[in-house]
Symmetry: C2
Subunit: 231 residues, 2 copies
């Protein structure tokens, strides 16, 4: 496929960017508390079965335009090819936790990759907040976010999707939701709560794949997300 | 990657093999009835959010070895590279609905593809039952299945995963679960309830990707499944 790698070699290096869905996992403050329960067991019933109860934005998940726009496309109507793209993994961990990422920050991070951001590429933002996932509840309401101005810059660069490594891409408890609206309103998808495995691929070009549940008219959905290093 | 296609061309042709998760959708008789509910709306709350309540084997889903073996690997401990493989899409729709697929049936279907089944390939079984998904409840308890003998054949061929286009790969209400146990006990993964889009790729070699939710210690999980035609 890329750089002379064959398919087998390529996917052997796939990195799982997905958090475990588990009882007690972090959620955006105010979101429903998910519950995962074994309902049948091999010992008693000959088979293991479980029930899953969770909000549409639990754990590593996808935001569809329908999240903020009643006429925006829902998760089940997006062609699966849109869930696969090249991406640059940007290191924004120089930002102070709780601060907003600006276009200047993005340009600096892109420049330091030595690679070019092309139309149709995605970007994945590593803020470092993922290092505190499940370890420090304070960060759940004080995480680094993408500013509205930074979002406008990424829209102007015609990116396909923006991933980030914590609960939301928006400033905590924003009243205006300008970042979500700028991205989703311009057809740029969002993936939130990627895990700290991103540290293995900082500054790299990757094949980014995220596969949300096909939830009818869904505003968003939990997904499996992975990256295949290309450079 | 394959046959001179570049990455962009390749994924443009991706076919979604996943059923919509929706209220009223078919489930294996006796399984929990899933529920999907909008909990916040743009009109009232400025944002759309939803709750998802579903069994671990709802809709298009993945069976991990933990489904039938307490010491089998759960869905969250399987490396993501295992969710990506070449597959042959086999047309078994010549079988009478409700009958079991034998090794002879499989050999016949493989032979008619003109392609060879190699160790590490997956197979996807199209039975035609998917054409009746949500249309004829009678098929929900009388679908074509893979016999234990057929499962043994696929294990002997060292396949990676077996997909099928209806609620279960096992004879309805089997007491012995021989098909699941033969496959999962030998490390062969199972994907059930693929949709009828398979008809577009019958007899073809595809890149088969399925991405189950990363549910901790999960016996299985809903997944997004897709196929990228290679031939």
């Amino acid at each position: 496929l890329i750089a002379g790698k064959n398919e087998k070699n390529l996917f052997e290096g796939a990195i799982d960017l997905t958090h475990e869905l588990a009882n007690g996992m972090p959620v955006y403050p105010g979101d429903p508390v998910p519950s995962f329960k074994r309902t049948k067991t091999v010992a008693h019933d000959g088979v293991n079965l479980s029930d899953l109860n969770l909000g549409s934005h639990t754990g590593t998940h996808f935001d569809a335009p329908r999240h903020f726009f009643e006429d925006g496309v829902p998760v089940d109507k997006i062609p699966v090819k849109d869930f696969i793209s090249d991406a640059l993994v940007l290191d924004l961990s120089f930002k102070r936790m709780g601060d907003g990422i600006s276009s200047e920050d993005l340009r600096k991070a892109i420049s330091s990759t030595g690679s070019e951001l092309k139309a149709g590429d995605s970007v994945i933002l590593y803020t470092g907040c993922s290092d505190l996932w499940g370890k420090d509840p304070a960060v759940n309401s004080n995480f680094t976010y993408l500013s509205g101005e930074g979002a406008k810059y990424l829209v102007s660069k015609k990116v396909k999707a923006v991933g980030i490594d914590f609960l939301s891409i928006e400033q905590f408890h924003s009243k205006t939701h300008e970042t979500h609206k700028e991205l989703l309103g311009n057809g740029v998808y969002i993936v939130e709560s990627l895990n700290r495995e991103l540290k293995k691929i900082l500054g790299k070009r990757v094949l980014f794949m995220f596969f949300p549940l096909k939830f009818e008219n869904g505003d968003g959905a939990p997904c499996r997300a992975l990256a295949v290093p290309l450079s």
